[in-house]
């Protein structure tokens, strides 16, 4: 196994042309993400964290700089189905069962029926929805729907999982529970995860690497390598080490905001 980064961005910039003039969503962003990393992107709205994730997924094209995913361009990586993408809303199709929703990308990719069955069973078990294959989305709570959508992103065994504020619309208690499950899932599958959030505790609890970003122009202000162990019970959030990292994240966010104060 080589030590090449899974995702590598060099001087990446993205400028949107709007009627009010150019908006610098990303400016000179440089970052390497290694295999098995859990990287959180945190920052206020407009800091480009979601845009950065969308560039990795080839949903936006950068206007300058370079980015590779698995050593190739994001477009080639997307066409090779290198990543699973989880959106803020579960976006399950109401006319399909949970199993049918998870099958959807597999059908599109032309996976055989037997392999589909096996994959659905496997990922439903990963997100603890074993008995819900034949239920319809409206029969599930918001948190369960989001778990199903994560299962769908995992179904085709991509090595990279990109998540854009997946729990942003859920309440605190459900969110805690899902955070635990995501860590468990990450430990079991050894995926490389990119995770956009605006919650400091969520970022610190989940990540091996926290990327703090700030707006106007969207840029990286700090990259924090977490010193927390891989095994993380929820109680770890009360340890001095956790609080220390959270403090550094908060300082980074405040520094990026100085010009606004």
């Amino acid at each position: 196994m080589t030590n090449d980064p899974v995702i590598s961005a060099k001087n990446l910039s993205l400028t949107f042309q709007t009627n009010d003039g150019p908006v610098h969503a990303l400016k000179d962003v440089t970052l390497d993400i290694n295999k098995g990393d859990f990287v959180s992107f945190i920052g206020p709205s407009g800091c480009g964290k979601t845009t950065f994730l969308r560039v990795m997924a080839d949903l936006e094209k950068p206007t300058a700089g370079e980015i590779t995913v698995n050593g190739v361009s994001p477009e080639e990586a997307r066409k090779a189905r290198a990543y699973g993408y989880v959106f803020q809303h579960a976006g399950l199709y109401p006319w399909r069962t949970i199993g049918g929703n998870i099958r959807l990308p597999l059908e599109i990719m032309g996976v055989s029926k037997d392999e589909q069955d096996a994959a659905v069973k496997e990922v439903l078990e990963l997100v603890h929805l074993d008995n819900f294959e034949n239920k319809f989305p409206w029969q599930l709570s918001g948190g369960m729907q989001q778990r199903a959508s994560i299962a769908r992103a995992l179904a085709f065994h991509a090595d990279i999982l990109l998540m854009d504020e997946p729990f942003g619309a859920l309440d605190e208690i459900v969110r805690d529970h899902l955070n635990e499950q995501v860590l468990e899932l990450w430990a079991r599958t050894n995926k490389t995860i990119g995770f956009v959030t605006h919650s400091i505790p969520e970022a610190v609890y989940l990540s091996t690497k926290i990327v703090v970003m700030s707006p106007r122009p969207g840029r990286i202000t700090d990259v924090i390598e977490s010193t927390l162990p891989k095994e993380r019970p929820l109680e770890i959030r009360d340890t001095p080490e956790f609080i220390e990292i959270a403090h550094r994240v908060r300082d980074g966010l405040r520094a990026g905001h100085e010009d606004d104060a």
Partner: protein, 295 residues
Amino acid sequence: MAALWYRVGPVIAVVIAIFVLWYAGAVALNSAWAHDKAKRAGVELTTSELIADTMSQKKPKLPAPHQVGAEIWKTTGAMVARGKAFSKRSLIYHSWITLSSTLLGFAMGTALGIALAVGIVYNRTMDMSVMPWVIASQTIPILAIAPMIIVVLNAVGISGLIPKAVISMYLSFFPVVVGMVKGLRSPDHMQLDQMKTWNANASQEFWKLRLPSSMPFLFTSLKVAMAASLVGAIVGELPTGAVAGLGARLLGGSYYGQTIQIWSALLVAAALAAALVGLIGWIQNIVLKRMGMAR
């Protein structure tokens, strides 16, 4: 019981109000003729005689509901009882003639409407160019263009059911185009991005996302299209010589001042439209409930 009354009560109240207004209108509009007749016969009419006369004239300006009811029964139920359901004097026969061109025109209009909508959504040239023509087509009065369609199709040897169905299609494709363009564009950015992350091709995106998403829009359009189809079918019967169909009954009735015949054909046409639209609504309910998209 109270709950039932809560639902049915307003409907009954409206129906009663319509009947009251209808009878009042019949008395008011037909009394002039009744007075005329009495004057010529040199008799004086009492109020009750006057009212009785206004409701039993042969060619009233506005026939009373029971006269229309009796005419409808005479040309439907009574003919079925005599085993002559499909005689040329039967409204069932005429309704069937109109229904057949309505249904064919509706099917053709739906197919054309969906095809145009797919073209508009997937083809930039069509997106930029087709819609103005579609709208222009509906600004031409159907009565003006119907004879042209009959003449042109006749010239190429097509007559009978098809020309009437084409006129019906001309009216019914419009709501389907408009509704389906909106329906096929109803998936949001996130859903389309999601398809992109799976590297789905255009046909997969259409069959798995756009088409299912458009179903609520399709059914709403189909209801409007069905009513338009019936209007088209009736209009289409007029320039074809008014041989058969509800339109022929309307035209024949107006030639000879048979107001009762006109009104019974009108009511049967309305009932037919209500039944067809109701049928689509019923299918809509079942389909959307199954798809988890019911309102």
